[in-house]
Amino acid sequence: MIRLPFVLLFSAFLFSAGVYGVLARRNAVMVLMAIELMLNAVNVNLVAFSSSLHDVGGQIFALFVIAVAAAEVGIGLAIVILLFRNRASINVDEVNLLKW
């Protein structure tokens, strides 16, 4: 039996790793993977809460999140491929036609 705080800490660590990946990586596909890591950290969190609360709602939510994450990857990769066709690069630093 793993106690809840450990799982929550693990999930917080995964989430932070994802945030770091989004901010530090320059390759669009790597950024996408880091976002997936964040979503999965939330899934761990939801399942942990669900198990400790004895409520099945959290697990159902996690299933929805998995489905949404899959759709998100589909759209994201399509946009990245279009970007690669347009400029032969998927480095997010070089995407600078529109100035911040």
Binding site: A28, F61, F64, R87, L98
Partner: protein, 495 residues
Amino acid sequence: MIGQAVLPTPELVFEPLLPELVLVVFAMAGLLYEALAKRTEAVVHLSIGLVGVVLAGGTSLWLWDWDGPATVLGDAVSADRFAVLARLLLLVVAALGLLLGHQYFARSGDEQRGEFTPLLLFATSGMTLIVASADLILTFLALEILSLALYVLTGLTGRRAANEAAMKYFLLGAFSSAFFLYGVAMAYGATGTTKIAAMALALTGTGEAQALAVLGFALLAVGFAFKVSAAPFHMWTPDVYQGAPTPITAFMSAATKVAAFGALIRVLDVAFQALAWDWAPVVWGLAAASVVIGSILAIAQTNVKRMLAYSSIAHAGFILTGLTAAGSAGIRAAMFYLVAYAAMTVGAFGTVMVVSGRGEKRTRIGDYTGLARTNPIAAALMTLFLLSLAGIPPTAGFIAKVNVFSAAIDAGYWVLALIGVVTSVAAAFFYLRVIVLMYMQEPEPAAPSLTEKVGIGAENSATAILAIPAAATLLLGVFPGVIVGIIRDASVLRW
């Protein structure tokens, strides 16, 4: 014993979900038409979309007098009048978006993409779902439905700028959704439920779970602030509004704000109402940052779409100013502002579309020099919408600003109202600058007039569409009473 176990299932009452079902059915009809027809006509796509939107509007109107349970489908969907009013507003914006988009593709030289109408309907279904959602699982799903459709719509033309905008919108949007989701997970952990009514009950009185709930709210606020483009989560807005095709910018600038604010209102004033003392300072800070950053950075812009994007950040701040007043007073002010804002921003971006011409060549502020000579109708429309955005009477923007400021003052946040008033004055500068350029300077000799370029017919029908937001902007400014009663009825959240 197996076979005798009874699973409790929620009673299935689908009526409050009818508008979304209609929209999705028509979106799929559009997809099937595009996939199966040998030659597709843009007009047929437009008709499918408009019929879908009108039918969804009819079912929403019917729900105004809904006397069934307040929430249905296991307390996941709310059937109150707030949802009905927000839906109707969203559907009007969607219809204008469809019409403007049809005009845009007819004259921009880009081929009309068959995905346009279905994607817009899917996005609208997500938006109408989120304002009725009474369960954070459903809120998250609706948020993703509308976001994923909007990412694709942004990059629809495949031009480099649009592609870049889609990329930035997608990466930052997915990033913020993850924060939102983490917030939902925390709130679930704190209260043991994702239903906002049950959440409200769980948060009253208990002190233990509140720390986790406050953390959850903070993360939820990041997600919402991103979607409504409130500073400091506004970075994507100028790029996306500039890069996206203009009719899509018009649609999403208005509709996304209405949808996200609708969901935010439900989360603030129902789920987290017990924590009002904790969330009010957060909303205060977001509002102050948005009005200041939006108004100041807009002054430095040279592109009209970017300028309007920064202005939309400032307007998100004004709406948040109204929301600092908890409960029905704040909802009334915010709803009126949303109606006014939807009319004026769709109108402003629509006029930008008319002026920008083929391939969106003319979107610099300099291109508006002497517009009153070359295209007097567009100049007059732009003037009306800019005056309304600046909040000058007798336009809708003025009444809306008065409402949010008085709501904030009544709730005791007079410093915030003061910041709002001061920045409104500063913001008037960049709106009036465009009007001065249009009326008080001669057109550049090289600039060809618009009518030579696209033909007078396309020009007129695009302008005719803009008569609707123009009429709404004036009507709400002169007779705000026409809608006050409706908003009062809709400002009570049932749960």
